[in-house]
Amino acid sequence: MPLPVPQTNVRVVTLKVDGQDYSAREDETIIEVCRENKIPIPSLCWMDGLSVVGACRLCVVEIAGSPRLQAACATRVREGMVVQTNTDKLQRYRRTIVELLFAERNHICSVCVSNGHCELQWLAQTCGVDHVRMPYRNAGYSVDSSHEMFRVDHNRCVLCTRCVRVCDEIEGAHTWDVMGRGSGCQVVTDLAKPWGDSESCTSCGKCVQVCPTGALVKQGTSVGEMVKDQTFLSILARRRSHR
């Protein structure tokens, strides 16, 4: 999906979120309205400044009249829309999604470079995940330290594809992509070559900063030292869409 181009003649709609009335531009998505109005909806793959993939489903909401749950990041507001963001059912689904993310790969927070600065950890705490009910997959994943500045640890990757999108849409290098299906799915650099051998990577570090977990990190960081700075993204994204 291309980045939204600001329009001059957008209409304003009114909608109800959790019983409160709000007005919004008709080209906005539910999550954008909620972020502006400090209504907390968890999200993982969505990021202000990147295109929308609607992949993680953490942002699901209930919309009156719709039989299905909808991803708030991939659904535009409509006049008269009635949205619920935090029902028992939604809490149950979100909890399960976060648990599955922990069960899928190997997250050992106590020894992770991102400990204390990780969006997945934070999601677990806010969604009430204090243990994982399903069995862990316990599959081993590789760590690629071939890049002179950065490292990818696939044990910590949640496949949000933020790295893929920022590298393609903002940096314009398209070093990252996704390979394989189902449990064999993995992000890769170039055509699954070691990152250090990549000819397309400019070493800009954008992917490292937007990665929500300890999957993409700077070399030389120790436990809890990897603090990310994502402020650049919305600034760059806005400038690009105005060109």
Binding site: C112, V132, A139
Partner: protein, 181 residues
């Protein structure tokens, strides 16, 4: 929660953990004096008793299930404790002990006791419990009532959870701790 008489009886033990959670328990410092008036530690590495009593109000387990002895202890605690609490990340999610799970047990033992040993390498078999192929969190082998993540959970966290339980309330540990805290 109230025990026999007025004090709440508490049993603790460590499974595959580093004992750090028990150290954090001791880190409650002077608050332990007040706690001692409300709880009676009837079995624990911190006291002398050698036998787990038949009936205990609260059981606290540190560490993951990594050997057949851990499994046996967890089952015994579950059978004898009214409430069972998983203390710390190893008990709650496997944590560092579970880092061996992606590897075959034989390879792990080979690496630890032969490959990396210079003098007299040998695999211990006598007087040590047999390791299980997969390390699991406590609640994957017995039902657990309360989860207190953290590596180790802060003394303030343990104090909060215990005082809530003593007062008969259900603590919400997620308010004060998380994985890796």
């Amino acid at each position: 929660m109230s025990g026999n008489g007025s004090k709440v009886t508490v049993a603790t033990t460590w499974l595959d953990g580093c004992s750090g959670c028990h150290m954090s328990f001791l880190d409650m410092d002077q608050r332990l004096v007040d706690l001692a008036e409300q709880i009676d530690i009837v079995y624990s590495p911190l006291v002398d008793t050698k036998e787990l009593p038949e009936q205990v109000d609260l059981g606290i387990l540190e560490g993951s299930i990594s050997s057949d002895e851990d499994l046996h202890k967890a089952r015994e605690f579950r059978a004898r404790c009214k409430l069972l609490l998983s203390l710390g990340d190893c008990a709650v999610n496997g944590n560092v002990p579970a880092m061996r799970n992606p590897f075959k047990l034989d390879d792990v033992i080979e690496r630890a006791y032969r490959e990396n040993v210079d003098v007299n390498p040998q695999i211990p078999t006598e007087g040590v419990p047999a390791l299980l192929a997969t390390v699991r969190p406590v609640h994957h082998v017995v039902d657990v009532d309360i989860f207190v993540p953290g590596c180790p959970p802060h003394a303030d966290t343990i104090h909060y959870v215990l005082t809530e339980l003593i007062a008969g309330r259900t603590p919400d540990p997620g308010r004060v701790t998380r994985f890796g805290a």
